[in-house]
């Protein structure tokens, strides 16, 4: 089959910019014979890949000054008489092949020792970005190590990272087998871990898409979603739970929070298990596929335990690498490893659009003998208060929740509510008044859309409100000064 392809100016992770070429999605792909039928989808705005494994032998002829990175082992390089050179690459057990070239690249090579031998790390840096190179390398090595420790061995002997040039960021943040593109800027602050995040994410796709080759058109959550979850785990382990995305002294953000905020940015219009092209819009696709899936799996840790979920994902990887599993395979593996029937959870979280929101509806203490006015102040003579705590399920997602009630004598009451009713009231008669009541005191139910109504603290603390006010007052004052400068 002969074909001709013309690269566009860089768009949607492929194309050229100046002397940089990112050659991805550049050849007609063979459809996948799957479930006794050809699975061949047209290109959709919200979806990326589904292809079968194969062996690629690719010859690339480029000007001799070009520095090339490709998703294969370099077999040979021959200079041609016309000022070009021909590079031959070979790649096995992959379902795509991409390459990038630029005479302006700075080539850096390193390696990581894995269980199957050394993995060659090939990083091509664009002008003005060299300060980010140590950050890419450190993240790549850390990610390789943790994926190997947690999920399974990296099957290839190489990984190439392309750093797109200034103006070519549309080629960044993309995954191809053994070749990923990242992204940075000349002024990237150290406290903003964007280069690390994108490197981790795209490398993670070597597992969730690269080796476990799910159908991204039909079940995008199996690669982008699981990958976002493992991104949370790896980034948090490497950079700290609350600082893995943003680590400034004045502002912080962790991957957990980032993925959850991404999910909250959209409503629950679409289920996770949804064809990519059937989402309400691209915002919903991104929020649900990436953010909600990561948040859903993080919440699942509360049900089966973090280690069990890690073991389940490891089993899933080992069992389905170099195949095309489905969502059912993933869920069955988790149920099998955890030994639990999790249909109730996945029906709501993956196949449904249920809204998860529990709240403390009311919490207060009154003297038990409230009618005896002589006993009311400052404290009843018998010292007994009746405390009510009402918890409420605001959404339609049913999930068992823990409740922790603290009293002013230092005691704590812990309850476990199955969360099925719309509300439930707990009652305590104690010689103490309520200090606080909190649902999910360990803050592990990330799917809960509103953390701010999960607790009630009797003694208010307005410092957060004051902090916000200070900031906005400050902004407002400076805007006034800016305008007053004209006078």
């Amino acid at each position: 089959m002969t074909f001709r392809d013309q690269l566009p100016e860089v768009v949607e992770r492929t194309g050229y910019k100046h002397d940089f070429d990112m050659v991805g999605q550049w050849f007609p792909k063979v459809g996948v014979w799957w479930k006794d039928a050809w699975n061949c989808h047209q290109f959709h705005a919200n979806s990326e890949f589904f292809a079968d494994f194969g062996t690629f032998d690719v010859k690339i002829t480029v000007p001799q000054n070009e520095i090339v990175g490709a998703g294969g082992d370099l077999v040979s390089s021959h200079p041609n008489s016309d000022g070009t050179k021909t590079l031959a690459y070979h790649s096995e057990d992959v379902h795509d092949f991409s390459w990038a070239a630029s005479p302006s690249f700075t080539e850096k090579n390193d390696s990581w020792d894995g269980p199957n031998g050394p993995v060659a790390i090939h990083i091509l840096m664009s002008p003005g970005h060299m300060a980010t190179y140590p950050r890419y390398l450190s993240n790549l090595k850390g990610t390789l190590q943790l994926f190997n420790d947690w999920y399974g061995p990296y099957a290839y002997d190489r990984i190439t990272l392309i750093d797109p040039p200034h103006g070519g960021l549309d080629a960044g943040g993309m995954e191809y087998p053994t070749l990923i593109t990242a992204g940075t800027a000349w002024d990237m602050p150290k406290g903003l871990l964007a280069p690390e995040g994108v490197t981790e994410h795209e490398f993670g796709h070597q597992y969730w898409y690269g080796m476990v080759a799910t159908n991204e058109f039909e079940e995008a959550w199996l690669d982008e979603g699981i990958n976002s979850y493992t991104e949370v785990k790896v980034m948090d382990a490497l950079y700290g739970k609350n600082t893995s995305t943003m680590a400034w002294s004045f502002a912080q953000m962790g991957e957990h929070g980032q993925q959850r905020a991404g999910y909250l940015g959209s409503d629950d219009s679409d289920a996770i298990a949804q064809f990519a092209w059937k989402y309400r819009n691209s915002n919903s696709y991104g929020a649900i596929t990436y953010g909600k899936t990561a948040t859903m799996l993080a919440t699942l840790e509360q049900v089966i335990g973090e280690d069990t979920l890690r073991q389940a994902i490891h089993t899933y990887f080992m069992r389905y690498r170099f195949t095309h599993p489905t969502g059912t395979d993933f869920i069955k593996t988790i149920e099998e490893v955890s030994g639990k029937d999790l249909k109730w959870y996945f029906d709501q979280a993956v196949y449904g659009t249920n809204v998860f929101d529990y709240e403390i509806d009311d919490a207060h203490s009154d003297p038990l003998k409230w009618w005896d006015t002589s006993m009311a102040h400052p404290k009843p003579a018998d010292g007994i208060y009746r405390t009510y705590v009402t918890v409420r399920r605001k959404g339609d997602f049913i999930f068992p929740v823990d409740l922790e009630v603290k009293f002013d004598d230092g005691t704590t009451a812990t309850e476990h509510w199955d969360g099925k009713d719309r509300w439930f009231r707990y009652q305590y008669d104690r010689k103490a008044q309520i200090v606080s009541a909190e649902i999910d005191p360990q803050t592990q139910l990330y799917l809960d859309r509103n953390f701010f109504n999960n607790s009630y603290v009797e003694r208010g603390d307005a410092r957060a409100t004051h902090k916000f006010r200070n900031l906005w007052v400050f902004v407002s004052e400076w805007l006034s000064q800016l305008l007053a400068w004209l006078t």
Binding site: P127, F451, S455, A464, H466, F468, N470, S476
Partner: protein, 317 residues
């Protein structure tokens, strides 16, 4: 710079210090307006945060993801009061335009600004300064064109260069040039305002002409008077921002508020310092430059002489 120039700045600083009630009134006005502008947000934020443990995400640090989560709630407790802030800022600007006459009259006369006289001066010069503002906006039009041109060139350079630095260097150079031009125009119009007050000049085009001639004959000394105050203010504000962002514990809400307001005070004081120094400079140089005699105070409306009323005589029956 010559000693006399330092003298002008010191005299200006002395005037700001001497009549510091102006500074505190402007600061208070700015603060009160900002409080009003943000009240709607605080009314929604308090009930959501004050009795919630989740508020600690913002007390012991500042978790940006939780801020995003808060902003995405259906009742939007964090919705920024954009229109209110802009409206109050515009009102503040108009008030500052009004007060400029009183402020400059105080500095030029170096007399205690009794409320009546102060507000009389504000009203007396207000429409002249409105006209000056219109002139300034006209003068700023080419600057706006320059900004648009620079922006276009920036995009083109940014697009054509594989190195990020070409566009960055151009941006810095363009920003410096544009900022410099804006400062020059500001100093020119500042001087026109001083002339309008000191000489009781009613014709603003004449005040602008005089100010132009005066400014460009004493370009560096007048520019330095302006820049000195600006540099001092920028340094102090920069240091405060650094301390706020890097050193201040996140729990120190009150200290953060006081620090932020200190920055505002410094900024307002610097602006007043520029105006006072320019007034002091003009007082020293005016006899040499000005064609007309020294300024005449704004006319005080004398009570209309009325004949004594006839003594009341009750009607006779």
């Amino acid at each position: 710079m010559d000693r006399a120039n330092y003298g002008n700045s010191i005299s200006g600083a002395g005037l700001v210090w001497k009549w510091q009630r102006l500074l505190w009134w402007i600061f208070a006005l700015n603060l009160v307006f900002a409080f009003f502008a943000t009240q709607g947000m605080v009314d929604r934020l308090g009930p959501a945060l004050d009795h919630s443990n989740a508020s600690q995400y913002f007390v012991h640090g500042f978790d940006v993801s939780q801020m995003a989560a808060l902003a995405s709630q259906p009742d939007s407790p964090l919705e920024f009061q954009g229109p209110a802030v802009i409206h109050f800022s515009i009102v503040f600007m108009i008030l500052m335009l009004f007060f400029t006459g009183g402020i400059l009259a105080t500095y030029v006369r170096d007399e205690r600004p009794a409320p009546g006289i102060f507000f009389e001066s504000c009203g007396y010069y207000f429409w002249r300064f409105v006209r000056l503002l219109i002139y300034m906006l006209i003068v700023f039009l080419p600057i706006g064109g320059l900004v648009a041109l620079a922006s276009m060139m920036y995009s083109r350079i940014d697009d054509r260069s594989i190195s990020p630095y070409s566009a960055v260097h151009f941006f810095l150079a363009a920003a410096i040039v544009i900022l410099f031009l804006m400062i020059v125009i500001r100093v020119w119009f500042d001087m026109a305002q001083v002339i309008a007050v000191a000489e009781d000049e009613k014709r603003m085009h004449k005040a602008l002409r005089l100010a132009f001639s005066l400014f460009f004959r004493n370009f560096f000394s007048l520019l330095w008077i302006y820049l000195r105050a600006a540099v001092v203010a920028c340094l102090i504000v920069g240091l405060c921002l650094y301390f706020w962002m890097k050193k201040l514990p996140p729990e120190a809400t009150l200290v953060a508020f006081l620090l932020s307001q200190f920055m505002l005070v410094v900024w307002i004081a610097a602006r007043l310092w520029q105006r006072a120094s320019e007034s002091a400079w003009y007082r020293r140089h005016a006899p040499v430059v000005a064609q007309e005699p020294a300024w005449t105070p704004p006319p005080v409306i004398a009570p209309i002489a009325m004949p004594d009323p006839e003594p009341y005589t009750p009607p006779t029956t």
